[in-house]
Symmetry: C2
Subunit: 442 residues, 2 copies
């Protein structure tokens, strides 16, 4: 019988699973440091909850669950796996009116999408979101930028920038080019491809959308703005018009100032008029964290979405959030060897010399564990030689061997696997030696 | 629009989510201390993988996922949510022949079962398993007992015992009473109810199964054995017959001795001839951890199952494991108030005195976070009074207020929320004060 994983899913064997746990543990600490609280929601939701927001597009991506009992024979489905963590958050907010606002929550959990699997694209993958619900203050936007920056720094990323723009400025840009209604969305989708298809590609796409040269010129006038953040903001304020432009500019100025006060380096913050992410979702400032060295592109992003969290309730609920690209982060950290040695593996393997000395070995393992030493007692069968091979293959740095002579003398053999050197020590001496090694972390 | 959770599922709001994270973090450390390694597998598997073992019974419990595209209109399903962590483990073993044996893995993850929801029974719940694959040694069985005992002790459970028996002794018991084939399973299911329906209940159930008085007497002769472990084992050895009885007795004697050497107190280990868990699955020693005070019954259990892990491969793969009843543990710890105060929540809330002093407040929050203090900067709008109410409602012990006088003097106000006392301090003094509080943990 041959077995396979379901398409687009992965197992994580110990090394990789340990790396994932490490990253999530680090993020957990960063979120706590910034006052975000954990939330957990179920893997599946009622289909009507999930279709509330995303309509047909979401429908196609959903893994739907067959009804149990009546209806199953007709292929009826009542549940579906969540495909993001935002719709469940909106449901939680609607169902828990007593939650204190602003509510700052983080959640790191798998989501599922029935997309065609490809390199780096999976049907089960983890999202890691931090959101602030119930505040319209730019300080909330800046807080989301800052927690993401701290997260990446804590994980060891060094050179990255935060690109910022505002959904309202993009709308004004489209309006100024005469692109309203469906054409606005099409224009913004085109702009979103600037990195991929370049200036000429975007220009011809705009022409195909029916934008004449003069209108395209008005778009380029904004997109081509350069200089420091103030200069670009001044240029956008001058070149765009409409009710919410000055509000948007003021928001961005406040977010820049506050993000800096929250510890983001000034030269990490860049207003970018071409940034056009999450078109149908965001309502205010949007941002993206781009790692520059190595050049791996966007690794986190977010923005303000004041119309989504309220969908299940009676009134609008402002919200702003950031999503860390957990899978991307993990792939990059693995490729760049950013993980230190695993800290969860055994420091010592206690070998079982023979049947007669099994009990001695077991007692030594217990003493080591009581001293908080990560200890792998060899529980298989096999010669001492094969046991030491096991320790070597698993990169366990120390082995303990209690042979007949050691047992008779109340001692044990402590072998450093890298050098092969073995010393005869008391139990306490061995514990001290290994604890010192664990403290040094090498 | 009214929204609901899917039936039988739960949200975990911050307090509860933090407790769950705490317990899983503690278990993670215990598993590492005992040399178990983490493994992660996907939420869904191909249906044929899941039906491999459990047949119709498993089928009924599965949440099946509708095919995407062709076949969906006929209600065809190709995937299903995992309903335990053991079948995925068997698949991983079959697909990764290079894994070194013995392979000790732990996994804590949700599973899904389409059971009728009831008090304490959910359709999504977490399992937490530690298994050793590839060893037939009783030391492996004892290691599984010991890691479970260490886990419960680490979580703060104090009085609990380990009941042990052996599947082969139960088979011999049934055989001795003339209950073979389907009748054997029925008899063992009956015995499993001893705690619930009592001695008389079991006796009449056995009579209903067609067991005459003399046969029932032979069963009671074993079940009624009492005394210390040696006495009971001697009694079983004398009263049962068949090829594997002496092997089973020898296994149990070895497991007892080794579990003790692994740190389990001798009087925590009790041979119990009535223990009959997991009837169709186990092949050797079985055990159960029972918490006696408070009297909440079994909270972890496991045993040897040498026929399951090999189902997807060419050869048998011995295995022994333990499952910690994570949901049960969480419910009990919550009911008994076994959780200390949350350690992930903010120690300080920094209030924003007014718009003009927002930047000052933000900078203070950044300095606190850089000193690793968990800091909740208030990012909403509202009076100072309402901000302090927020800190109080969230049980944040300290508040920082930077008013105009403090800002002018380069100082800040540090308010102890419990007493209402406020001091004017330098930033460094405030950091030192709060860090000292965090270290004291109170």
């Amino acid at each position: 019988m041959s077995v396979h994983l379901a398409r687009g899913t992965r197992d994580f064997l110990p090394d990789e699973a340990a790396h994932r746990h490490h990253v999530i543990g680090q993020l957990q600490e960063v979120f706590a440091r910034h006052g975000f609280e954990p939330l957990e929601t179920p893997a599946f939701e009622r289909i009507e909850t999930l279709t509330g927001k995303y309509g047909d597009e979401g429908q196609k991506l959903m893994f739907k669950i067959l009804k149990r009992g009546a209806g199953s024979e007709r292929g009826e489905c009542d549940l579906a796996l969540r495909y993001d963590l935002t719709v469940p958050l909106a449901r939680v907010i609607a169902m828990n009116p007593g939650l204190r606002m602003p509510f700052k929550r983080w959640q790191a959990a798998p989501v599922w999408r029935a997309e065609r699997p490809a390199r780096g694209r999976f049907r089960e993958f983890w999202q890691c979101d931090a959101d602030i619900v119930g505040s319209t203050e730019p300080l909330a936007d800046a807080q989301c930028v800052a927690v993401a920056v701290d997260a990446l720094q804590t994980l060891g990323f060094q050179r990255f920038t935060v690109r910022l723009n505002d959904r309202r400025l993009l709308a004004a840009l489209a309006r100024g080019a005469g692109a309203v209604g469906p054409l606005e969305i099409k224009l913004l989708i085109t702009l979103d491809k600037l990195d991929k298809i370049g200036r000429d590609g975007v220009d011809s796409s705009m022409a195909e959308l029916g934008l004449g040269e003069e209108r395209r010129g008005r778009v380029w006038q904004i997109l081509d703005l350069s200089g420091d953040n103030d200069t670009i903001l001044d240029g956008m304020e001058a070149g765009l018009s409409g009710g919410s432009v000055s509000e948007a500019i003021a928001s961005l100025r406040a977010v820049l100032e506050l993000a800096e006060a929250l510890g983001v380096e000034p030269d990490q913050l860049r207003i970018d008029p071409t940034l056009a992410r999450g078109l149908d979702y965001y309502t205010g400032p949007v941002f993206e964290l781009v790692v520059e060295e190595p050049r791996i592109g966007s690794i986190a992003g977010g923005g303000r979405y004041d119309d989504l969290v309220g969908i299940f309730g009676k009134k609008a609920v402002p919200a702003v959030g950031v999503a860390l690209g957990l899978e991307r982060i993990l792939i990059v950290m693995q490729e760049l060897d950013m993980f230190g040695p695993r800290t969860d593996t055994a420091t010592v393997m206690v070998a079982v010399y023979d049947e007669a000395l099994r009990l001695e070995a077991t007692r030594v393992a217990t003493a080591l564990r009581r001293a908080a030493v990560h200890t792998d007692l060899f529980v298989g069968s096999g010669s001492l030689r094969s046991q030491l091979k096991h320790a070597h293959a698993k990169a366990i740095p120390w082995a303990v061997i209690v042979g007949p002579d050691e047992a008779a003398a109340g001692l044990l053999g402590l072998k450093e696997m890298a050098t092969g050197e073995q010393e005869t020590l008391t139990l306490d001496e061995a514990i001290a030696r290994v604890q010192a090694y664990e403290r040094r972390g090498s």
